[in-house]
Symmetry: C2
Subunit: 256 residues, 2 copies
DNA sequence: TCATAAAATCTCACATTATGAAAAACAACT
DNA sequence: AGTTGTTTTTCATAATGTGAGATTTTATGA
């Protein structure tokens, strides 16, 4: 959980709790999350947890894998998602931009968003040459702090929140080559100065990336737009040039 | 609302109500839905409604357009959706199939799912020649009963539920050329006999379609896979042949 | 195979939480 | 400025959700 808007407590405890659980399940990923995990992480009483989960499953917001006795996001969630993507949110606003950038450069590009401690891929266009990316296809995610797409967002949050997230993710960084909390902090500092995030083969050898944050509401960096390119294709100035392209497109998106 | 699993009443009234509202907002579409609408359609007390909506907005499951004073699906919904699409649900299971069919035939193909009284486009691959479709891009929807993609699902529901849905949609049919409830009933009967749904230029002149239902749980037709083709490209037997292709792919998807 | 542990599910008395009528604040017309 | 319709807040009331524990089901080991 983020420390932030938990316990909105406008008189809807049950709903707040349901959202906590939805979040935990969403974070749980492809493997699914078990009841025990959920009670532990949410701090909720087992019975309460169970009751809420059952209801959510009943409404198909969650699905239950009876075999593995665990919970995942449900069919209705996927449908809602498809509908939401159509509304006047980031995804549909970026759709044109993505396609246009793809045509202009021929490179792989993706739209990332923040969900709790993770950075989730919302949309992407594959480039002419297939490059391995951190997140894989739409819906894939990495811990915030990993990769330029996520650093671009992280770097422009309040320092408190940054620290909170880094702390929460600290053990997960180990899975990404020689990434550490301190390195993340250094990358953040550089990114703030530069205005955009870059990575030159530090996470996946031979693969570089540039990402620019999107301040959808003018204040909070809730999303980012970024390239993934083969380091081999880099010439001096390529990254700067790509950052400019992203900036332009984002500017066009943000002011309506 | 569907008569079905409303009021699950396992001791989570508030959650049930929240889902009702989420559904209404999702149905409301691109224009957004106002509080008044929501209270009217849900039958909930204004204060209760307002409280729930506020909480949902707080969690970004819904978003509020302060200007137009109405509610839409929120950013978090889109993110959940992206994640859900990645799990072992219909979407990811159909992904390969979609791409393969697209390569085999070169035609436009889409995956539809049922949401209340509507049929929503979950995924699609565009064909070599651009054809106009009823639903447009991902997230687009039509009332159940309109178009082969939705008839394919509707036809294999219980008769009671069919009638319920047709009644609910009856006024909306008028927007689609000369479609009427009776015509929908006739199409359903034909589809049941045939095993798949077809349309030859009756909804959009010059555009034909074939769709086969997917019984993801073995019983309920929760989704469908279908082609949209130019009538001009039709030769005798094309539709049958396409239906076979769909059947094959669906068979492969359903048993694991 | 049976015994043991662990996790999931159910039950029910209790009080915290959610409810909705009504009033207040706010917009939108005329 | 007056009037109407919509949104937001308040608060006493009770219905809803809570969670400790009992029970059942499933997993693990000997």
């Amino acid at each position: 959980m983020t420390k932030s808007p938990q316990s909105s407590s406008g008189g809807a405890q049950l709903l707040d709790r349901a959202v906590i659980l939805l979040d935990l399940v969403a974070d749980g990923g492809v493997n699914g999350v078990t009841l025990k995990d959920l009670t532990a992480r949410s701090g909720l009483n087992t019975a309460t947890c169970h009751r809420i989960l059952n209801t959510l499953v009943g409404h198909k917001l969650l699905a239950r894998d009876d075999k593995k006795r665990c919970y995942r996001l449900g069919a209705r969630m996927a449908i809602y998602g498809a509908r939401a993507a159509r509304g006047p949110g980031i995804i549909s606003r970026c759709e044109v931009a993505l396609t246009r950038i793809r045509r202009r450069t021929g490179d792989t590009i993706h739209l990332m968003a923040r969900l709790n401690h993770d950075s989730v891929c919302l949309d992407r266009r594959d480039g002419e040459c297939v490059v391995p990316t951190l997140t894989g296809s739409i819906g894939g995610s990495v811990p915030l702090g990993v990769g330029p797409g996520s650093i671009a967002m992280l770097a422009f949050l309040d320092e408190d929140e940054q620290e909170f997230i880094i702390r929460a993710n600290i053990e997960r960084y180990a899975a990404y080559r020689d990434l550490t909390a301190d390195k993340v902090r250094r990358l953040i500092a550089e990114t703030r100065d530069r205005g955009y995030a870059i990575d030159v083969g530090e996470l996946i050898p031979g693969i570089a990336g540039v990402s620019v944050p999107i301040f959808s509401d003018g204040v909070t960096p809730n999303a980012s737009l970024g390239f993934t390119i083969l380091s081999a294709k880099l010439t001096p100035g390529t990254l700067e040039q790509y950052a400019m392209i992203l900036r332009e497109e984002i500017a066009a998106i943000v002011d309506q």
